[in-house]
Symmetry: C2
């Protein structure tokens, strides 16, 4: 089913002619208002020293043993283009809170900072930096909303999709999510994230064009309904698309299968239908009986493709029960990551003007300074991670790599989707199997903080306390 | 707190100069591949008769007593602009499944159909048409993915937001969601949906510009952290923005409140700070003690604004406990509608070439033909809905109104956000109070199908069966 209905084609010319990031132009104002009021304050206070912001997920959501980092190249492409247009500045002027001096300063304002990050398709865990931004404070502050939104989106969706792909155990999964993802951006970038996570193709044509993802599709109930009867619809569609997938459940699934068999008998050698699709009812039992009837009619080559409200758990059950299913179409549950649609992601100031920074708010600790994650491996299996200070010499493979300098993506930065997809597959294969599994892992994957970083956190905490209490409020 | 930090301004010039729909240009390919393969089949089979498609939600998700219809004008604006560019057609040609004849036909292909719909901001229930599309079959088929995606997005988010607003019982709610909504489109259109549902303002500057929604914001922990101490940060920020909101929980919430009080003593008449924001810890207890200290310092005018992982349940508890809170900033739980991120929405062929259509798939019934919803009222309270045939004369107010003809929005169609917002508030006020409540209502709001529509459904079912079985498959 890798080419499940013949309409699955790798786009080349169309997609490469298109810069996917141009569609995200005009995003300078895609920021929370407070970022801009703080920017003006930094401008007035001349606070332009270098800041380090770290993006990380505080806790894994219930039902996730790991996350799959995703969305980096999308973000970097946006950072390269980000600037305030004259219209943007006119709108800000209309708000009445920004000075002409500040608005003139914004005219040449760009993101010229550096970014180091975990490559897309890398499994990550709680508190591990997904990326670190090193830039003058105003630049690093400005991009907060965009960084969080874009990495969150694709990481949420890739982390869900990898579970669906795992559950399908090698059978192709097709993304049917576009109709219920949260908007257009999520549908397009979701298709990208799904593909990196191992999903074979997408039904979303614009995503196919924009990202060069294989597109595929079958037929809808409406096509069958609009014809006088199912047989007429099957014949017309297969006449135009001989190697198509026929949807058999509009009126009665097994009756539909019988009609496909009758068509095969009638058409003999001209019959090229690749598969039938089941979209409702007891999919396991129906697939069994459909397979039996197809095989009895000597149609072993006709595959069975199923869809209809599938989650990774439903797929795992079908696979475990030995249902003769050759591929899965998965829509809503993957498209909105319905069991864990959000991550406790944070973008936090960790250093300013060369000094470690943190906050002391309840339950929301920050690891100060620039960091690195070291992933250790034992006999081909990842055995644990250590979050350390950048430059620390610890065993294991460092995960964070430089990807952007002076606001430009570095030449070595991976931008090719196939490379990311291969990287993801290879990295996931190295996870301990309970972590890769869709059931909750106990114990979870071990992540430690290095003694040096822990010590640094304590030192900075003490410094922050001292500096803070150097100015005591009077007792009320 | 309607103007919670002085930065909340109604955008006028900037927003009105901007057509929000232009940003969604290039969406002809935002469709599932099968829509286009079916389109080519309709083209080859000359199936251009009029089709009726109905958009509805099959079941309300757990935790929803009603939905708030939203996203219509966004969609209609897109339908007016939708067309295949030369690049779109070149991409389709590259897929190898489309004939030159068909691709030439697409050149002039537009949506020229009619739409009737429930106005935005109207409460709706299961199986009630949100909209009906009447158009030549290919046109109505083409737009399926876009119609579903866009109405689903804003209806999901508005239906969540209205619960948050209800829970806040008149205290303003500010949208802080942009950083964790699913992508840029969801953040922008989400802000629109939230505002229609009663949310006071958004932190999202681009949404403010695009839709003319009031924008507001306070300050972030990073601003405090980047300063030597909290007092220095408070003084600098309040110097630039005298009527600001100061974030007090970076190091210790009540210590932060004491610093604000000290600043007030020091600045005397120059002190204009409007509010403090609490973002972590036991918000109810902290708000109580903060209020006590502020009042003791004769700072009754300084309001208390809270945020940090708030859901409608958390807000309802704070309100019920009498916490002295003047406004709520709500992010993720509203931004992704985390408890119900998707709806069982469907866009189904209900009529073709003048004949009612449906399918017989398990658990997925369709009400055939064109329909109307009649909402009955008793002593100022909505008492129940009847879904009937279009043209039926039933008691109650008809909900579906014509909004587009020949692919153009009708002059009377409401496009003004304030009007929609007022409509929503007024309509929600007429719901029975158990339905308006955030707890599950038992019994649910009564929705019936009229005897005539039920009869018609049975007649069409019988016709479909007869037509279908006129061509019997041979027994295998």
């Amino acid at each position: 089913m890798a080419q499940e209905d013949g309409r699955q084609v790798k786009a080349t010319g169309g997609a490469s002619a298109l810069n996917p990031h141009l569609h995200d132009d005009g995003l300078a104002l895609f920021t929370d208002l407070y970022e801009l009021t703080m920017l003006q304050a930094y401008f007035e206070e001349a606070m332009h020293e270098t800041a380090v912001f770290t993006l990380f997920v505080r806790r894994l959501p219930k039902g996730r043993n790991f996350l799959l980092a995703c969305g980096l190249d999308t973000l970097l492409g946006q950072l390269e283009y980000l600037q305030f247009s004259a219209d943007d500045r006119a709108y800000l002027a209309s708000l009445g809170s920004f000075s002409d001096r500040f608005l003139r300063w914004l005219e040449d304002f760009r993101f010229n900072g550096s970014v180091s990050a975990v490559p897309e398709g890398t499994p990550v865990f709680e508190n591990e930096p997904l990326l670190e931004v090193v830039a003058p404070l105003p630049e690093a502050q400005w991009i907060e909303t965009l960084v969080m939104n874009q990495i969150h989106l694709q990481t949420v969706l890739a982390s869900k999709a990898v579970r669906v792909v795992q559950a399908a155990r090698g059978r192709p999964v097709v993304d049917f999510g576009a109709r219920r993802t949260h908007g257009i951006d999520a549908a397009l970038k979701g298709a990208r994230a799904f593909h990196i996570a191992g999903v074979a193709s997408t039904s979303n044509v614009l995503a196919g064009r924009r990202y060069g993802i294989p597109v595929s599709g079958t037929m809808a109930h409406s096509y069958i309904q609009a014809h006088d009867n199912e047989t007429a619809a099957f014949e017309a569609f297969a006449h135009l698309y001989p190697d198509t997938v026929l949807l058999v459940d509009t009126y009665d699934t097994l009756d539909g299968v019988d009609r496909v068999i009758a068509m095969a008998r009638h058409q003999r050698a001209a019959f090229k239908v690749r598969a039938v699709r089941l979209d409702s009812g007891d999919l396991g039992a129906l697939a069994q009986e459909a397979r039996r009837r197809l095989d009895a009619a000597n149609l072993q080559q006709v595959e069975i493709f199923v869809s209809g409200g599938l989650s990774e758990q439903a797929i795992a059950q079908l696979v475990a029960a030995g249902a003769p299913i050759d591929g899965f179409g998965v829509g809503t549950s993957m498209g909105v990551a319905s069991d864990a649609p959000d991550l406790d992601i944070a973008y936090k100031l960790a250093e300013y003007a060369g000094e470690g920074r943190l906050k002391l708010s309840t339950g929301k600790p920050i690891l100060p300074g620039r960091k690195q994650v070291f992933r250790q491996q034992h006999e081909g299996v990842f055995s644990g991670d250590v979050i350390g200070c950048l430059g620390e010499d610890l065993p294991g493979r460092p995960l964070l790599v430089p990807v952007m300098e002076q606001g430009r993506r570095l030449p070595g930065h991976v931008r090719d989707l196939d490379t990311m997809r291969n990287h993801a597959r290879e990295q996931i294969a190295h996870l301990p199997s309970p972590i890769r599994n869709i059931d909750p892992a106990d114990p979870p994957y071990p992540v430690r903080v290095s003694p040096r970083l822990r010590q640094y956190q304590e030192t900075v905490t003490e410094q922050v306390r001292l500096r803070h209490h150097a100015v005591e409020p009077p007792k009320v």
